[in-house]
Symmetry: C3
C-alpha cells in the first residue's frame, strides 16, 4: 500500500504541473502569444509523460495477475491524469482556434 500511496502522490504532483502549464498556455494564446502557448503545451506533455509512468506500471502489474488493492487516493490520481490529458488535447484545439481568430 505504501508504494501505491507514493505512486499516487507522484502522479498528482506531475499532473498538477501539467494542468497549470495547460491553463497558462490558454492564457498566452488568449493574448496572442502563440510561441509561449506552444512551449507551455510542450511543458505539459513532459509533466504528463512523467505522470503516465506510475499509471502504466500499476496497470501492467494487474495485467500480470498481481492483485492491486483499491485506494481512493490512487483513484483520484487517475481521475486527475485522465481529465488533464483530455484538457491538454482540447487546449491544443483551442489554441489553433485562437490563431485563426487572431
Amino acid at each position: 500500500m505504501e508504494g501505491m500511496e507514493l505512486a499516487s502522490f507522484q502522479i498528482i504532483a506531475s499532473v498538477g504541473g501539467a494542468r497549470s502549464s495547460v491553463m497558462e498556455a490558454l492564457r498566452e494564446a488568449r493574448e496572442g502569444n502563440f510561441a509561449e502557448a506552444d512551449a507551455k503545451i510542450e511543458e505539459a506533455g513532459t509533466f504528463l509523460a512523467e505522470a503516465h509512468k506510475g499509471h502504466t506500471g500499476l496497470i501492467q502489474k494487474e495485467a500480470q495477475g498481481e492483485q492491486v488493492p483499491f485506494s481512493l487516493l490512487f483513484m483520484h490520481a487517475e481521475d486527475q491524469l485522465m481529465t488533464t490529458i483530455t484538457l491538454r488535447d482540447i487546449a491544443v484545439e483551442m489554441i489553433e482556434m485562437h490563431k485563426k481568430i487572431g
Copy 2:
C-alpha cells in the same frame, strides 16, 4: 457502505446540476448573452463546491488510515466530479473566446 452510497448520490446530484449550468452558460455565450453566461458559470461553481465536500471527506478518512471500501457508484461519482470540474474550466476559456469573436 450505506454512508458511501449516500455520499455518491449527493455528489452525482450536485455534479449533474453543475454540468447543466455549464452547458447553459455555453449556450448563452453562443447567443452573445455574456452576463447570463457568467452567472451560469458561478452557479456551476456553487454546485461543484457542494459536490466537493463529499469527495474531500472520504479522501481525508482514507488519509487517516481508515479503509474506504471500493464502490462502483462512488467511482462513477468521482469521475463525474472530475470531468465536470474540467468541463467548467474549459467553458470559462470558451466563453472568453466567444467574447473575443462577438
Copy 3:
C-alpha cells in the same frame, strides 16, 4: 473477474473509436468541412453508446446488491469513458464556434 476484464476491454476499444472520431471531427471543422465534422460527431456517439452498455450493466449489478470487485483496468475504462463523453460535449461546442468564425 474474467467477465469484468472483457467488459473493460470492450469499453476501452469503443471509447478509443469515439475519441478518434471526435478528434477527426475537430480537424474537419478546423478546415471548414462542417458536414464531415457533424458526421464524425455522430459516429462518436454510436461508439459511446456501445461503450456505455458495459458501464450500465455493471452499475446495475452493484445496485442490485452484487459486490463488484475492484479492477484497475475497469477503473481505467471508466475514466476513458467519462473523459471522452466530456470531450465529445466540448467538441460539439467548438464546432459551433468554428461555424461562427468560418
